[in-house]
């Protein structure tokens, strides 16, 4: 039952899920490490939720090998369930019960639940614990969902878009909750559309496009983020107009100046580039370069590039192989 030493809490090889001709997931590989917060990113309909639901044991797979906490989720074992916490994408409604009654009720199914009061406080519903759960606002109902998902003190938590519909303050509170479990050595799988959320919480992530993992690894190195050039830009002041640029570090690539009068230089050595630009500007009597920016590629830039690169995630019908081989020869 216990995860074997060295085995990852989640290990997926060649996962496939088809609905007739539609291949929602096609040959997906994934390893999620012990104790990490792992993000699953990807556009709508890319197969994220299908994948997560297969890992949660609520959807049957068509093929491939899946191990979650050392078990096949399709077995749906009770002792396995006791170690898994799930916050599904849709918000539940628990009619005619108060917040406290709902959490108490779900706690009753677990061998080692967290104290109910603590869970309610953790999700920020402390003031509302006597409220009828159907009278909660959308954001509060979402927090109750989270409470129901974590009350069993799980070793592995699946959060499927947990902060959708939450205001910024509530989102930060939800993040604290994720960190709480992460600090206690628990593993979290987070599905989200918010890249800032992934960046704030996760060390590693995978991007799923058209039912496959197109990128997986530390967020800091995502999509060759370290390889993508940094852009140094500034508005050309009158004093510098018409002057020739100084000799720039190797690899620096100035783009033609457009109508906005902004000079953009792509570089892998922004510090060296500035070291060349600053004395040059000084000589022309410019002490401050107007609108100077050093723009490192954000996760969003990298993510959007990835999605574009692997586009056509919408058609995964019978002739997918053809599309892919065409893409390969292009």
């Amino acid at each position: 039952m216990a995860t074997a030493v060295g085995e990852h809490p989640v290990s997926v090889r060649g996962l496939r899920k088809s609905y007739g001709d539609w291949h929602a997931v096609q040959g997906l590989d994934l390893d999620i490490h012990q104790g990490e917060v792992f993000a699953l990113l990807g556009p709508n309909g890319a197969g994220k939720t299908t994948t997560v639901e297969i890992l949660e044991g609520v959807r049957q797979r068509t093929g491939g090998d899946v191990r979650v906490l050392g078990c096949d989720p399709a077995e749906d074992r009770r002792d396995w369930r006791a170690r898994i916490g799930v916050v599904p994408q849709t918000t539940g409604a628990y009619s005619d019960l108060t917040v406290r009654e709902v959490v108490e009720h779900f706690a009753a199914f677990y061998p080692n639940p967290l104290p109910v009061g603590q869970v309610i406080d953790m999700v920020g519903l402390g003031k509302h614990e006597k409220k009828q759960s159907t009278d909660l606002s959308g954001g509060q109902a979402r927090r109750l969902d989270v409470a129901v998902g974590i009350v069993g003190d799980p070793d592995l938590i699946f959060l499927d878009e947990p902060t959708t519909g939450l205001d910024p303050v509530a989102r930060r509170e939800a993040w604290d909750l994720v960190r709480y479990f992460s600090e206690r050595g628990r593993t979290t799988v987070l599905t989200t559309h918010y890249l800032d959320e992934a960046e704030a919480l996760c060390e590693r992530a995978a991007v799923i496009v058209a039912g496959r993992v197109v990128q997986c690894g530390p967020l800091a190195e995502f999509g060759g983020r370290t390889q993508t050039p940094t852009t140094v830009s500034f508005r050309i002041p009158p004093e510098l107009a018409g002057r020739t640029l100084p000799s720039l570090p190797p690899g620096a690539d100035p783009a033609p100046v457009g109508a906005d009068g902004v000079l953009r230089i792509g570089t892998h050595a922004p510090t060296a580039l500035l070291a060349a630009l600053v004395p040059w500007a000084h000589q022309a009597g410019v002490g401050e370069l107007p609108e100077l920016r050093v723009h490192r590629p954000t996760l969003e830039d990298v993510y959007l590039d990835l999605i574009r690169e692997h586009a056509d995630g919408t058609d995964r019908g019978a002739d997918t192989t053809q599309l892919i081989s065409e893409a390969g020869t292009r």
């Binding site: 216990a2 369930r81 409604a93 005619d96 677990y110 080692n112 206690r184 050595g185």
Partner: protein, 289 residues
């Protein structure tokens, strides 16, 4: 100012695994008790289920009990009494069949079923809770109906211990048969909005063809035949044997109360409903939100 680099690895302090897995996984008793508690709480707090499920037969009893008069042709028995025996069967069907089918459809729609399936709850605990809900509400319904019939319309209480015994088993078997049928029938309900529309016609039609409002012997033969396939007809017949004089069997199609038959049909419906529920109940899937 001196710049320092933050350390890249923070020490992770997790609770030792061995220390955590000491509690025992709650079994069917604890889980079933937790489900039952929530079921009863929710039933009595929900005005819709209280009015629609519990009070509807009571209203029918009061209204029709005040309208019906005269004797059933060929007998010395008041039509009112026949109706009162029948309405108990309708009450059982209301709380156990209609109430349960609608309740399950709603829980499938609002995420309760889906969330319960994601906990280590033994799956049978859900049905234990439903059965407790149905038994408690049906018992209450029967007490309400018999009490009102007694107080307002002079329905005589069962006169012999045998009749009390028949009342007991007819109620119990009828409840289980209708509950199992309701749980199975809920598979036909696409979503909670259409639940009442899909359940109520069955409830109404069965009442009319099963001898609740009209003496069963006066119904057209084909209608009697159709009704004989369903539990309400048999339940109502059982309640007539409890509350009406034995001389009334003169107008019963079989000429006697057929107690053995009644028990057999109700047990058969219970088993069929159980099997159908086992095959049709879904913990997940497109309809389970």
């Amino acid at each position: 100012m001196t710049l320092t680099q933050p350390s890249t690895t923070a020490p992770v302090t997790g609770t030792p695994r061995a220390a955590r897995h000491t509690g025992r996984l709650p079994g069917i008793w604890r889980a079933g008790a937790a489900r039952s508690k929530v079921e009863l709480r929710a039933f009595f707090r929900n005005k819709q289920s209280l009015v629609f499920t519990l009070m509807f037969p009571v209203i029918l009893l009061v209204v029709f009990g005040s309208i019906f008069s005269g004797k059933v042709a060929g007998t010395d028995t008041d039509l009112k009494q026949v109706f009162m025996a029948g309405i108990i069967a309708a009450g059982v069907m209301s709380t156990s069949f209609s109430g349960l089918a609608i309740n399950i459809a709603i829980e499938r729609d609002t995420g309760t079923v889906r969330r319960l399936a994601m906990t280590p709850m033994p799956k049978s605990a859900y049905f234990v809770g439903k059965l407790v809900r149905v038994i408690v509400t049906t018992a209450l319904e029967a007490v309400l109906l018999i009490g009102i019939a007694l107080a307002l319309f002079g329905l005589p209480l069962p006169s012999t211990p045998e009749r009390w015994f028949t009342l007991g088993w007819d109620l119990a078997l009828g409840t289980v048969a209708c509950a199992m049928a309701g749980a199975a029938y809920s598979a036909l309900i696409p979503n909670s909005r259409s639940a009442a529309a899909i359940v109520t016609p069955v409830f109404m039609v069965l009442q009319f063809i099963s001898g609740v409002f009209f003496p069963f012997g006066q119904l057209p033969a084909w209608m009697q035949t159709v009704a004989a396939f369903f539990p309400v007809k048999w339940m109502a017949q059982g309640f007539r044997s409890v509350f009406l004089p034995d001389s009334f069997t003169a107008v019963e199609p079989a000429g006697n109360w057929e107690l053995g038959h009644i028990a057999m049909v109700l047990v058969a419906w219970s088993l069929a409903g159980l099997v159908l529920t086992a095959f049709s109940f879904r913990w997940r899937g497109p309809r389970v939100r």
